[in-house]
Subunit: 371 residues, 2 copies
């Protein structure tokens, strides 16, 4: 059994539709609310369940106002005080900064952890041990990111360049972070992977709330001041008025620019490498990876969806269906079929990344009823 970690306060920024997973993901059914692994749990629910044992059951969720009912329904044990609602999307620095301020008010020694709501991680025990080490490293006064050892020269992620071991007894695998680097081209990515000093930046980090906010104040003073005004009013009769007045004017920026990169330049960032498998379920090629191929079938077709009947002849790929219809595939290789009541997508694993372009194209053409 995992024991709770003192002063550790995890939170989950749950935003982003995940439009590369359209038409499965929708504005009102974003990726984090979906079960994409056939496990019976949504990605958010699984994220919550991985974190709760580390913090005595309390996990804060920061999400959009429109998702409050669905989040509450999926997490019935979530305390009202742990459901932080954004009136509108303001990128990650605002959401994370507000969570840090609220948790710092709850616990002046708070070590916070930020974990995306829509990643798949296995096994939970390995994840928890890595977080435990990251918290220990953070207690030494650092922002500690969890790096994912790369399994391919991916060009869709930022990378973390690590340096020397920190030599911390409670965090033996923690390394100094030299720098965060942007998404590379493929040649650069190959060099990163071959070199061994680079891990993928999955956006997971653990840090003393006070340290993180000090960096935020330095690099984004306007954002910090606005969030502080909101945090001061939080839980008072003035909350709604202040949020509605201040939030819309907050600068939109990512936590990477506002905190991670300047903190790394200041020598304040460490990294603990992951010992678990990690997938950001970035597109339908990932859905194929994460779902078992029907062992009874004579073809390599992964199926996601209950009561889905698939007839596959000389075909491979993935079928996602929530309509109960029979899906017949004949002579189609590496196909992706996503079957929903009002929209049908047919593409290939190779083109799975282009689904986002289709969503943008639907936006432009005014077909927003299916988004």
């Amino acid at each position: 059994m995992t024991t709770p970690i003192e002063h550790f306060h995890p939170f989950v920024p749950a935003g982003g539709v995940g439009s590369r997973l359209w038409p499965l993901s929708r504005a009102d059914a974003p990726k984090f609310l979906l079960d994409l692994t056939g496990s019976g749990s949504s990605l958010l629910r699984a994220t919550y369940d991985r974190l709760a044992p580390l913090s005595g059951g309390r996990v804060m969720v920061v999400t959009g106002r429109t998702h409050a009912p669905a989040v509450s329904a999926q997490l019935p044990e979530l305390a009202a005080a742990d459901l932080v609602l954004e009136p509108s999307p303001k990128d990650s620095a605002a959401a994370i900064g507000l969570a840090c301020m609220l948790l710092l008010r709850r616990d002046p020694e708070a070590i916070v952890g930020s974990f995306a709501a829509d990643h798949v991680i296995q096994p939970a025990a390995a994840f928890q041990e890595v977080v435990r080490e990251a918290v220990a490293a953070a207690a030494s006064g650092r922002i500690v990111t969890i790096g994912i050892p790369p399994t391919s020269p991916a060009t869709g992620f930022g990378y973390i360049r690590a340096g020397a071991p920190l030599g911390l007894e409670a965090a033996p695998h923690a390394l100094q972070v030299e720098e965060f680097v942007e998404k590379p081209d493929e040649e650069t990515a190959r060099a990163y992977v071959a070199g061994g000093d680079y891990t993928w930046n999955a956006g997971m980090f653990v840090a003393p709330a006070a340290l993180l906010l000090a960096h935020l104040r330095r690099s984004e003073p306007e954002l910090h001041a606005g969030l502080a005004e909101i945090a001061d009013a939080w839980g008072t009769l003035a909350q709604d008025e202040v949020v509605d007045r201040v939030w819309p004017g907050l600068p939109k920026t990512a936590i990477d620019y506002a905190v991670a990169e300047p903190a790394a330049a200041a020598g304040d960032v460490a990294m603990v490498p992951a010992t678990f498998t990690w997938d950001d379920v970035g597109d339908f090629a990932a859905i194929h990876r994460l779902n078992r191929v029907d062992p009874a079938g004579d073809s390599d077709v992964a199926v996601l969806g209950e009561n889905t009947r698939v007839l596959a002849d000389a075909s491979s790929g993935v079928v996602v269906s929530d309509t109960g219809r029979l899906v017949a595939l004949i002579g189609v290789e590496d196909i992706v079929v996503v079957d929903t009541p009002d929209a049908l997508l047919v593409t290939t694993r190779e083109h799975a990344q282009r689904v986002k372009d289709a969503v943008n194209s639907l936006k432009r053409s005014g077909d927003t009823d299916v988004l």
Copy 2:
């Protein structure tokens, strides 16, 4: 305007589900009842409309009992006496033989014409002129088939080998038929097409009813006797009793074996070449050919179905939908997507012929609810 041809009695054997067009075609919605060209008319309706002007408006339809309501609804002007219902499928010789007997009783000088219910022919005027010539040739005491000049070395059709011109004044293009040949392999088909003596056998023919039945009596005496017993009872109080007693025991055979081939061997068959375009809509590759590509789209996707929204990105092929759903195609070439309320097919134009195997596989697995 086309004037009616004296003693000419066309009929339409309307049978066959067209399982290569599943899931569009179903047991209760066979191919001939469908609009496969986006014209607004079913194939049966269009066939009827091409024939009716040649016979003063009377066209006989021979179909399965279960299709009677749909056929009557599509052909409201069809006289009850012209709707001949088979209690069960017995292949083409029984259906055609019965139609000939009933028409011979109506007109002892009947020249009948048999035309499939599920072919696409353009333009109607050219078709009518060819039929007129075929009737003239048939009046000389021959079974006259209409040959389709081949546009490719197709291996899915039988071929007709023609010989010398008949030299008939009223049928200047009519040629003697030397033989009917079975579906060839591709090499043989290439030789047929290159040689110039061969046309496709589309199963359309015109003949004196008495001559056709004489051949049937010679080659299939049992079938002929059974049909004669049914025809004698037709229109009397005994009709149902006799049909239900005799029909189930009739031999199952194709008109090609029962009449066309022996008649050709006897020198009784002629051929008039078609001057119209012809398509048997044999599979979804044909649906692609017969339906206009959306001129507004930037991709080569043909769409069949009302109110179908298709978003195509770097894709080509055909979408058939009657669900009103948005269909998004991304990076799929020569794709075939058939979208119905209870079944979805994804294949390619190349594999379109294999749809029949999928239907057989569904029969074996007991998934008959979608057939």
